[in-house]
Subunit: 502 residues, 2 copies
Amino acid sequence: MLELVKQRKITDEESAEVEKELTAMREEMIELANAVKMAKLPVIITIDGWSAAGKGSQIKHLIKYMDPRFFDVESIRTPTPEEKRMPWLHRFWKRLPKKGEFLILDGSWYRDTAKALVSGEIDKDTYKQRIGDINVFERQLTDDGCLLIKLFLHITGGEQKKRMDKLAANPYTAWRVDGQDFADNKAYDKFYKRYDKTLERTNTAYAPWHIIPANSRTASRLEILRVVTGSVKAALDAKAKGEPFTETAEFPVNDVRPEKFKLVKTKKLAEIDMDKSLTDKEYGEKLKKYQDRLFELQNICYQRKIPVVIAYEGWDAGGKGGNIKRVAAALDPRGYEVKPIAAPEPSELARHYLWRFWNRLEKDGHFTIFDRTWYGRVMVEVLEKLTPPERTEMAYQEINEFEHMLTEWGAVVVKFWINIDKDEQLRRFTERQNTPSKQWKITDEDWRNREKWDDYEKAVDRMIELTSTEFALWTVIEGNDKKYARIKALKTICRAIEENIK
Amino acid sequence: MLELVKQRKITDEESAEVEKELTAMREEMIELANAVKMAKLPVIITIDGWSAAGKGSQIKHLIKYMDPRFFDVESIRTPTPEEKRMPWLHRFWKRLPKKGEFLILDGSWYRDTAKALVSGEIDKDTYKQRIGDINVFERQLTDDGCLLIKLFLHITGGEQKKRMDKLAANPYTAWRVDGQDFADNKAYDKFYKRYDKTLERTNTAYAPWHIIPANSRTASRLEILRVVTGSVKAALDAKAKGEPFTETAEFPVNDVRPEKFKLVKTKKLAEIDMDKSLTDKEYGEKLKKYQDRLFELQNICYQRKIPVVIAYEGWDAGGKGGNIKRVAAALDPRGYEVKPIAAPEPSELARHYLWRFWNRLEKDGHFTIFDRTWYGRVMVEVLEKLTPPERTEMAYQEINEFEHMLTEWGAVVVKFWINIDKDEQLRRFTERQNTPSKQWKITDEDWRNREKWDDYEKAVDRMIELTSTEFALWTVIEGNDKKYARIKALKTICRAIEENIK
């Protein structure tokens, strides 16, 4: 793609005209930022490109008159040691803007692909995997209504050398270039090829590239404002009409389709044998056995830096709390966290629904245990109609992709549906109601949910069917007998970790 | 204090009795954790002490049957490079538990004092400063109703050596001890003296120490459960009666009084000359001059890693937004963030009111610009009676302490009150109401606040009087003329930074 880009010079005659145009567009940008705020449109602008292409000063001009309360500019550098212990896209998920706000990235996830490959930070397989991850990530963002504008500032090798020499010659700016920069300039062709391939592979219909010829600072300033104001206006128009928005691609796009994950065949809830149980003696023995084993396995995970993500779902009063307690009791408490998931807070509602789960992950070597999960998206959000049907319908694929990224990161992913039958639930509800110390556990909402049992069951069957991937299997736990349920959970976690460390 | 501590052995005869007691107390702990949840009591338990004193396994036993959804265990190690770029207590503020939850720290802020001093990580002045900071921090937490239980696990040097040898001899645990640990054991006496002094200086009436003789694991397990259940029960009782709670100190306490910061004499708002203004020409020239200067100063701050914290307060429609915009426009956008402060979210309300401000600080070398601030505590929270009067009354001191810690960290702190008169506000409100693109800026609440102008004015006068410290001065900005206000803000920030870098 880069070869199609023509550098542009602003002639002296054009110069006055261009200045006028710049001022007009910057003023338009102020209005647009207000409109973005009111329309609650989240906007991400990524600015990548060659070293010394002027990303910093371009950003400064872009935001010149925008209200600084509604945008955030972040510099993306080499990941810190802490960031390296998380999934590689984690540091970008974490930074997602609220609806109505701008996030402007100086360098982006692309920093961790092309540049990281050429500099030897990652190998080719990792590079390829990341390209795939990026296409997924960008689709998830744009499907959620985020406007993503990707800019690549392109300068020629000669221009780059000239700029670096200039920076090095000035004592105030000399610290901004070092030997590595000059070495990179010598390897310009190598970078060129890699950048070009990366651009091509990630030039999708939903997130096309804008390549900005940047040899001339004024010309690129103009082009950036044109692209940004144009895209924002078009996205606002589409949003006002309630239509989905796609930017017009300047280059032929790479037709990336969502990966079809192989699904494992599963039983319906109605087919589960609910009579399984354990005697107190069996329970006592097995509890000790699997808790001891889990503790050993936690040590191995800690030393090998393997993350473990455990997702608990199940009927109200299914016994999630007590089950989690037995798992947690086996673990060194410094190495796990339990994340109870309730209704989202305003700052969470203002972002992609997966944001709050990305945000709650613990670093590698640690266990993250979710008490209720991202599957709320395809249960309560469907039944209570909290989200448009077309968005929840996409969630099965999005969730599979999310869990796939967790396993790419090296995580052991275990998902439990704790199943009880309708009579058992009634028995437990009544007991809670009649026991003063347990009354806080039962609410009117629980009774209301119970009335929708059949609809929930359908939703759960469908969820399990569509998200039982080979890398993140569901385990349905027969929960009428709490003892049986706890042992099965412990055993399943042990087996999953053993499978991973073999 | 350590010399007063007697190690205890559990004899064989006692052993059965002790086991019974342990089980009973652990069961009591489950009930207490439920009660803590319902009473919305935040609880922090810090576990410090000698290496190999068994902190990890003691924590494991303490929480054995507690509901893992309501506590969080964190290991405190050497601060990471990122943590080092924040105020040193930042990493503890960040972790504060919600009301009703437990935070259990394996190592705490004490790690960064005694141990850090002996190991040469910090010098003596820093150590002393940190002891002072700790006394402030612990008072702020306990004054806010947090139950803070500080445990120090004490073992003798011989016992420590024995345990390290044992760890080193077992291939599964050998990785947990290294040469440094054995060297520290040789320096036991040196550590002893420093630990002892640290304990004494931080043994306050509001946060007394519990020293746990830990040569015997069972004896210390028993003692920890005794202390924790005892303190939790007492705190719950006090809370139920609406009384303030103080733990009983086992050792003579260090009577630490809040530091009286010297206040600078200030004018009342009514004494401000509101007629100051600038011509367009003056404004244009000065804007360029101070914006250019600020940009230079930002570069210096970035290179020297000086943090800058700017707090904006002022009347509704005072022009904060436009003022901030002119400051921001001068800055490299990668080096600052504007933090708009609205009503707190549920997760923020569930913690100390300063938590959300600690959490929003940017790292050193960067600017954090607050659009409204922690001063809401002594304005809106007082006028709307959102907080009990005795707590807001403490806020002046707490805020001075907070800002003092920021300056200790090296921050330049600038605080603006943008002042307009009542007529000017009316004019601006009316204009907003009549301009469609500005209507989102004016709400019914603004009109309601306006009715309380006189009360607000009193609150602001008092706030400025009581929080004008030498290290964090207020600048009242004459805001009837927006141009004058913007230049004064820019100039004040430049002067404050220049003063700091001299």
